[in-house]
Structures are given as C-alpha cells and as structure tokens.
C-alpha cells in the first residue's frame, strides 16, 4: 500500500515538475523572441558562422571580444574605440592590453561582461563556449560566433566584424590589401613544387593541424602540402609512428609568440626525417599561424618565404 502511494505521489510530483518546466520554457521563449520582433525598425539581423540569426542595433559602439584574433580584427578595421572588454590573451596591438579584461578565452567572467553592457560579444568557436553563449543570450546580449576554416573564412570574419561595428569601408580596404598580398604569394610559389611538411603544434604529446584547421589552408597557399591535411578534426593528437613514416621534407614549428619558446625542437619521431637532416625546420611566430586574424597573411608570407626562398629573390 505504502509503496503504491509513494509511487503515485512520485508520479504526480513528476507530472507537476513537467508542467512547471514547460510553462517556464514557454515563458522564456516568448521573452527572448519579443525584442527582436519589436525593434525591427532600428535593428538589423545578421547570420554568424554558426548559422545563428542575431539581431543587432543599427549603431554598435560597445563590443566585447573573447578571442585574440577577434581583438586584432576590431583594431585592424579601426574599431578599437568601440572595444570595451577583451581577454588576458589579447596582447596585440599594444592598445589591446589596456582594454578592460573579462578573463581569459576559456574562463571569461559573465558578471564583468554584463557590467560592461556590450551590444555584442564576439566569440571564436575555437574557445568552445557554447554554454556560455547561451548564458549571454539569456541576458539579452547578442553573441556573434566566428569559425573560419581557411583564409577566405578569415576574410569573411574581417568583413563581418567591420559591418557589425560600422567600419565596413575600412574592412573592405583591409581585405582587399590582404587579398592582394595573398595573391602575390600565390603567383610567386605557383611554379615551385609543393613541399610535403609536418605542422608540429606541440612535440609532447604530438599535436598537429588537421582537416578543419585554417592553417592547413595557409600551408597549401604557401606552396606546401601538410601530410596531415586529411586527418579529421582541427588539432588532432597524432601517432608518432605515422609522423615518422610520413617522412616530411619540412617541419613547421609555431613558436616564439604568445605560446613561448616551448615548441622549438622537433619531436623525437621526426629527428631522422628528411626535414631534420636537411635543416628544413622552420620556426614561425605562432601568433601568425594559430590566430585567424589579419596577421595570418604575415604567417602565409613567412611560411612561403621559408619553404620557397628561390621564389622571393
């Protein structure tokens, strides 16, 4: 008897809980959709890289950036004065360091962001902030997600960020300049044979760049061919024996930037590779290779010059 009663009570509690949850979610749905329908006259809608439609005011002058590449883009299109918050990783240009810090890319402070009253928060998916994005949205703060997988994607990010903060013209000029430089690299390395290379993100454990990393596209444009270009994922952990068996003719070491000097030696598995034996191990500032921002084109030029010095004489 007692058991049956308990069971029934349980069932009823569950039912009420269910109804409660439904009502709450219905309420929160109506609340979050109301502003976008109401303010259609002085707001605009744009789609971000995650395919989300977001509503923004016509004039945006309070922006928070949660990734160093996005901070670089904001400054490069001349929107530095609209940046009210960025992260401790945002160290370029120098002016970015004096912007109020909201934490690092992986652990931003929700409270501080809300206190800064941004009209939009710029997020890079590399930082995996899906839950955080939802929290911001529930506080009616628009979140714009970028997710470039190649240099075209970086150009798109620049154009979009320019449009968001009202610097579309400057962004257009910047992208045109960057395109010109990328095209110059293209034509310089056109006749040269592609160099099979290994991109070593870290030696221990061995990480590399996979199919989804934008640097894989940079390598291709620089006249190289990443031996891990078809490996699924952006930054896969890679088998040491496969790296040895690949016998790369060159190794790219992203190092010396904000990642420090930790990655300045080739992994043991690559120590007998043709790359190491012929001294074709190239250290390139990691900030130019891992940040999908304007300086990615610097990385492209540096890589192309390292791989094909003959093409740039």
């Amino acid at each position: 008897m007692g058991f049956v009663f308990l069971g029934r009570l349980h069932y009823r509690t569950l039912l009420w809980c269910g109804i409660f949850v439904l009502v709450i979610s219905a309420l929160s749905c109506t609340r979050s959709t109301s502003p976008s329908t109401k303010t259609s006259s002085n707001s605009r809608e744009i789609t971000d890289d995650a395919g989300r439609l977001i509503a923004l005011p016509q004039r945006v002058d309070r922006v928070v950036s949660l990734a160093p590449n996005l901070t670089e883009i904001v400054f490069a299109v001349g929107g530095g004065e609209s940046l009210v918050g960025d992260t401790t990783y945002c160290d370029f240009p120098a002016a970015a360091q004096s912007i109020e810090k909201v934490g690092d890319t992986l652990h931003p402070s929700l409270e501080r962001i809300i206190a800064l009253r941004p009209q939009v928060v710029l997020v890079s998916t590399a930082s995996q902030l899906e839950v955080f994005t939802q929290q911001l949205q529930s506080h009616n703060i628009a979140v714009f997600v970028t997710d470039p997988h190649d240099l075209e994607g970086v150009f798109r990010s620049i154009t979009e960020v320019g449009e968001i903060i009202g610097k579309a013209e400057q962004a257009g000029i910047l992208v045109a300049k960057l395109r010109e430089r990328a095209a110059a690299v293209d034509s310089a390395v056109k006749g040269s044979p592609r160099i099979r290379l290994f991109y070593q993100l870290s030696a221990e454990p061995l990480y590399t760049a996979g199919r989804d990393a934008f640097v894989t596209d940079l390598i291709k444009r620089a006249g190289g061919e990443s031996v891990t270009a078809d490996v699924p994922g952006a930054w896969p952990k890679y088998s040491a024996e496969s790296a040895l068996a690949a016998r790369p003719d060159a190794v790219i070491l992203p190092t010396g930037g904000s990642m420090g000097e930790g990655n300045s030696n080739v992994a043991e598995a690559l120590s007998k590779s043709p790359a190491a034996q012929h001294g074709r191990v190239y250290k390139i500032n990691d900030d130019h290779l891992v940040r999908p921002g304007p300086r990615a084109v610097d990385g492209l030029e540096e890589m192309a010059k390292a791989l094909h010095p003959e093409a740039f004489k």
Partner: protein, 350 residues
C-alpha cells in the same frame, strides 16, 4: 612430546610453502608466456603497417638484425612502438601491484591508488615539478613519489579514528583527499597558458605517448623491484588480513610492514603517474581478477596481479593507438571502458 609436535607443524608448514611456491611459479610462468605473446602481437599492430614476417624476424633477433625492414620501419618498431609497450607494461604492473598490496594491508576490496587519492597526489607532484623544474626530467617521478606518499599518509591519518581504521572511514577519507586534490589540479591548470592545458588534460586521463626514454628504465626498474619487495612481504600481508592486532600477536611487525607497503606503493604509483598520468581501474580490477582466479594468498596474487596488470595496460594501449589511427586516444579512457564493465561482472560473480 612438544618437540615432535612443533616438528610436525614445521614439516606441514614447509610442505605448504613448497606447494605455494610451486603454484606461484606455475602461475607466473604461465602469465610471463602470455605477456610475451601479447608484447609480440602489440608490436605487430600500430597506425603504420609493418610486414609481419620481417617484424617477427627482427623481434626474435632482439633488434640486432633488421631483416627486411626499412630504416624507418625499424625505427618505428624499436624507437617508438616497443618502448611504449614496455612503458605500458611497467605502468600496468606498478598500478596493479600497488592496488593488490593496498587491498591486503587495508583489508579493503576498494583500496586502489586512484580511489585512495594516491594517484592524484602523484599527479599534483608531477604538475608542480613541470611548472617549477620543467627542464629537469628526474624531478617529475621524484615529486610524484613525494606527492603520492603525502596523500597516502594523509588518507591513512584521516581514516584512523579513536577505534582504529574502519574500511568505510578509509574510503571516505580517500574520496575527500581525491576531490580536494582534483580541485588543486583544476586550480593549477587554470594558472597555465591555454596551449599547455590541452596536453595536460590529455595526460591527466592517462597517456603513454609522451613516453620520454629517460623515464622508461626507471619505471621498469621500479615496477619489477616493487613487485618483488611486496611479494617478499606477502606472508605478513596474509596475516594482516586477519586484522592488525591478530597479526601483531602472530609476530608480524605491523608498523614496519605498513611503512614498507606505503613507501613501495607510493614509488610504484609515483613513477607510473609521472610517466603516463592517471590510468584508472587497473589497480582496482586486476587484483580482483587475480584473486578470483588464483585465490587470496598474497604470495600468489601479488606477482600474478603485477603480470596481469602489465598485460591489461598493453592491450588497452594497443586499442588506444590503433582504433582511430593515425589519431590517438588516451589509454585511461580505454582502461575505464574495459575496466568498469569487468568490475561489475566480477562484483556480480563474487
């Protein structure tokens, strides 16, 4: 009269000892043969395919002949694959030996390096060594050992109430120390730069790919030496399973045995955590497996657990490095995937 009684009892004990010795030797020889077979199979498998005949030929010659292998294939086999297999064996053997002796000493079937917080103590030690003495490789196992030892004694102190250490108190103390040290680990990782966090989270799950050659001989020496020392203390551990007071009355130097087990087990856990992070479930499942199949005499179950642990981690790591090749999984994920269902099965059977 009394003389003849003690004579016959001594004779019985001697015969018992001989039977146990025989059983131990048979079990160990069987397991060593199995270990040999598994090492060879594991050496044939990997993200790169090696020709079977040539590989076997080269393995049989202990690397003195290259047979038909190219230079690269030879390097893959002897510079990358085999060191990693030996490290897997050392780590598995160490963790299983530590688990088996904790379970005997503390008379608790759940006593295990990970659940007692010893692995986390070693992990904190390794992280601090990496942060402050990054250049000195030997500082890692040393600090891991110190961390493991501190965690062990902390748990033991916490578990000892006014009425002595009860099994429940012990596990509770272990859980408290484990969670406390986990938050220390989280705190230290947030202090690190983003690029190092990824490799740390991988390492924390148990990863054998970062095997530096400098630590391999140390890990192997400690695993073999530790298993031998604990096997020689197995008779005292058998008596300790009756309870500390009874063991003391039977002539066991309880505090000495306890210190030996704590120090040796901390060495075992420290060296394996420094080399591979926290590989879970090995210290829990393997000793149970050994006891269920060979009986609870520690003179048999400790060496058997050591060898079975080596087998278990070699198999798990072979899966980890081949299943999504050329990418890799952390071996800890595989040991947990195999270990958890295996433990449930053993629990239902026991």
């Amino acid at each position: 009269m009394t003389v003849t009684v003690s004579d016959t009892s001594t004779a019985i004990r001697l015969r018992e000892n001989r039977v146990t010795l025989q059983k131990t030797v048979t079990a160990c020889l069987g397991l060593i043969c199995a270990l040999g077979v598994v090492v060879v199979i594991a050496a044939l498998l990997g993200s790169e395919k090696l020709p079977v005949g040539d590989t076997l030929c080269s393995l049989v010659s202990f690397g003195t002949r290259q047979c038909g292998l190219t230079n690269d294939q030879f390097d893959i086999l002897f510079q990358i694959r085999l060191p990693r297999i030996f490290l897997a064996a050392a780590v598995g053997g160490s963790l299983a030996t530590a688990g088996a002796s904790y379970q005997a000493l503390l008379r608790n079937p759940l006593a295990e390096p990970y659940l007692l917080g010893v692995s986390n103590g070693a992990a904190v030690g390794t992280m601090l060594a990496l942060l402050f003495f990054g250049k000195m490789e030997w500082s890692r196992p040393l600090m891991a050992f110190v961390g493991a030892l501190i965690a062990t004694f902390a748990v033991y102190r916490l578990a000892r109430g006014k009425v002595g250490a009860s099994p429940e108190r012990l596990i509770l103390a272990g859980v408290i120390v484990t969670t406390f040290l986990s938050s220390v680990i989280v705190f230290v990782t947030t202090l690190m730069d983003a690029t190092r966090i990824r490799s740390f989270t991988f390492w924390l799950l148990g990863d054998l790919s970062g095997a530096t050659k400098a630590l391999l001989p140390l890990a192997i020496a400690i695993s073999i030496g530790g298993a031998l020392v604990l096997t020689f203390n197995a008779r005292s551990l058998n008596l300790l399973m009756l309870g500390e007071r009874d063991a003391f009355d039977l002539g066991v130097e309880v505090s000495r045995v306890r210190t030996v087990v704590f120090v040796v087990a901390s060495l075992l856990v420290g060296s394996s955590v420094a080399a591979s992070g926290s590989v879970g479930y090995v210290g829990l499942v393997v000793p149970h497996l050994a006891r269920l199949s060979l009986g609870s005499d520690n003179r048999i179950s400790i060496p058997a657990a050591a060898l079975t642990g080596a087998l278990f981690v070699i198999v798990a790591d072979t899966v980890a490095r081949t299943i999504i090749a050329p990418r890799e999984l952390p071996v800890g994920a595989i040991t947990a995937l195999i270990g958890a269902p295996l433990f449930i099965y053993l629990l239902k059977r026991a």
